[in-house]
């Protein structure tokens, strides 16, 4: 018997986020969440923020995890770097997964490690055969080590590489085919990258392998201009989700049905109620789609 190229991956407990809206968990909101226990689908944390030894972050996350589904979102694995993955970092991620049993683990199509250390940013990749093989080898290693399927997130980009031979959507589709990873579709990143490259965000969504999307991210961005006066959107996560991104999200939900959807906010953190209202807006869009789908089914 020929062994399959990929052994079936062992899934983490309850290996799927609820198809509802969630919010990025911020220390400023620990008290409000613990006091009010809001009706929300899930919380997401940056894995690296819970790699301290102990203290209030772990106490609060333990309490919240006992009551909500959790998405673990890595920002430091540097999957796109042309250097070996940091094995110690993979072990730390594994420990967190064992401890908190998240419903999902996700990382980025980006790189951040270099000879001098580590960058606190998600840097872009050229899309060609060599980078494809490198990224796929890293995703295989991550999924083997963590014992679960990971979700890969599409980047926001400000420029592109002259040497790229694949479109981003083809590149991602091929990664999914080779590694069987899932996808995290960041709709704000789609809008930001499409605006910055003056391409069509709808064409991107149409070419994206939506069947593999297990989570969606929504966030705010800032409008600037480059030296030639061309619009340049910066993926700042410091404000409410833009109307254009809400609209694009609605179109994605039309195609996918309800998908776990995260409101991301990493700077200028507003009160809990403001973020919760954005999560409710995402749930309303999903509910509206489901209602129309049901009507369709009755009359169709």
């Amino acid at each position: 018997m020929i062994a399959p190229m990929h052994a079936p991956l062992q899934e983490v407990a309850a290996a799927q986020l609820p198809t509802r809206a969630g919010v990025g968990l911020k220390p400023a909101h620990y008290a409000a969440i613990i006091e009010n226990e809001p009706e929300i689908g899930f919380f997401e944390v940056h894995a690296e923020n819970y790699m301290g030894a102990g203290g209030p972050p772990h106490r609060n996350l333990t309490y919240i995890r006992e009551r909500y589904a959790l998405s673990l979102h890595g920002v430091g694995l540097s999957i796109g770097a042309d250097r070996p993955l940091d094995r110690a970092h993979l072990s730390r991620l594994h420990q967190l997964i064992l401890r908190y049993q998240p419903a999902s683990f996700s990382e980025h199509l980006a790189w951040s490690t270099h000879d001098g250390g580590f960058f606190n940013d998600l840097l872009p990749l050229p899309y060609h055969g060599a980078t494809l093989r490198r990224v796929c080898a890293h995703i295989d290693e991550v999924q083997d080590r963590l014992g679960c399927r990971m979700l890969l997130e599409n980047p926001s980009t400000y420029l592109r590489f002259a040497e790229s031979t694949w479109s981003e959507t083809d590149f991602i589709t091929e990664i999914v085919r080779r590694t069987h990873c899932g996808l995290l579709l960041d709709v704000n990143n789609v809008h930001v990258s499409a605006t910055n490259q003056q391409t069509d965000a709808r064409a991107y969504i149409a070419a994206f392998p939506l069947a593999h999307v297990a989570e969606i991210h929504l966030a705010g961005h800032n409008l600037e201009a480059d030296e030639l006066g061309r619009p340049l959107l910066i993926d700042t996560h410091d404000r409410a989700v833009d109307a254009a991104v809400w609209h694009l999200y609605g179109e994605v939900i039309e195609r996918t049905g309800a998908v776990a959807t995260l409101i991301e906010r990493d700077a200028d953190i507003p009160s809990w109620d403001v973020l919760f209202a954005e999560a409710c807006q995402a749930e309303a869009i999903m509910a509206d789609h489901a209602k129309r789908g049901a009507r369709h089914a009755r009359h169709g």
Binding site: G76, D82, L123, L159
Partner: protein, 274 residues
């Protein structure tokens, strides 16, 4: 399906591409790497600058959040210039940014433009110790009654295990007072720069606690942290101050929930037991 590269040239090796990208991020004097294009195929230095800015300003803002009293003492323009010099010379070595900035206090101590504020590095050390205590491993404080089980003849072999969050700092000026006044814990008032303060930092439960302690207490606790026995720590503390009060210091550590265990070192082989 893959197409031909826009440049028509073979792709440069990825590791070279990433090294050039990384070098240009950390060295503002370097031009943006070639072949990074905007929508019309024209190279754009401004777009590359977004990545440079995300990295450098991102780390500067991280340091602003971690060192709020230092920021208040020197103001935003000075802090950002000092932080930028630190970021470019000491970029993060780990993806765990919770740990970034541990060398910032020592950098401030060497930063010539800050020399007029001799207490600044000590205030930064307090803020760094605060953060380390916040994220330190959890441990349950020892019930004081457990001490009753120690036989008097075992006391000279007694070692104390302190809570993982415990640190002591010996400052050259009134750094704790200055810190308290600049994080809003105390009203602003004149300080005596000649007053050297020692600080005990701990986090027995959810909250980080900072206490001023005597210089001899600093010697005593730092000896315990260095694995010295209570007797050795006592001898060092008495050398610093002949008035050092052992029982008051032990009671203080217990009350502050800083002791989590005790044990007995093997007997000293050179000692002449009767």
């Amino acid at each position: 399906m893959p197409a031909t590269a826009e440049s028509g040239l073979p792709a440069p090796p990825l590791h070279e591409r990433q090294r050039a990208f990384a070098d240009a991020i950390l060295n503002p004097a370097l031009a943006a790497p070639a072949g990074l294009l905007g929508p019309d195929g024209v190279a754009s230095a401004h777009r590359f600058g977004v990545y440079r800015n995300n990295v450098v300003m991102g780390l500067i803002h991280l340091l602003e959040d971690k060192f709020p009293a230092v920021l208040r003492l020197v103001g935003t323009p000075f802090f950002q210039a000092m932080a930028q010099a630190f970021v470019l010379s000491c970029p993060p070595q780990s993806p765990i940014l919770l740990q970034y900035g541990g060398q910032f206090p020592d950098f401030i101590a060497r930063f010539t433009p800050a020399r007029e504020l001799p207490y600044l590095a000590d205030v930064a050390r307090i803020e760094q110790a605060y953060l380390e205590a916040y994220h330190a491993e959890d441990a349950d404080a020892l019930d004081p009654s457990a001490f009753l089980a120690i036989a008097p003849q075992d006391f000279d072999r007694l070692h104390l295990q302190l809570h993982p969050s415990v640190q002591v700092l010996s400052c050259t000026g009134p750094a704790l007072r200055i810190w308290q006044m600049n994080v809003g814990d105390e009203p602003l008032q004149p300080v005596d720069l000649g007053e050297a303060q020692c600080v005990l930092v701990s986090r027995p439960e959810a909250l980080v606690e900072l206490r001023e302690i005597q210089g001899s207490s600093e010697v005593f606790i730092s000896s315990l942290l260095d694995q010295a026995s209570v007797v050795t720590a006592l001898q060092r503390a008495l050398a610093a101050d002949p008035e050092f009060d052992l029982s008051a210091n032990l009671a203080g550590l217990l009350e502050a929930q800083c002791i989590v265990g005790f044990g007995f070192a093997p007997p000293d082989v050179k000692r002449n037991d009767p």
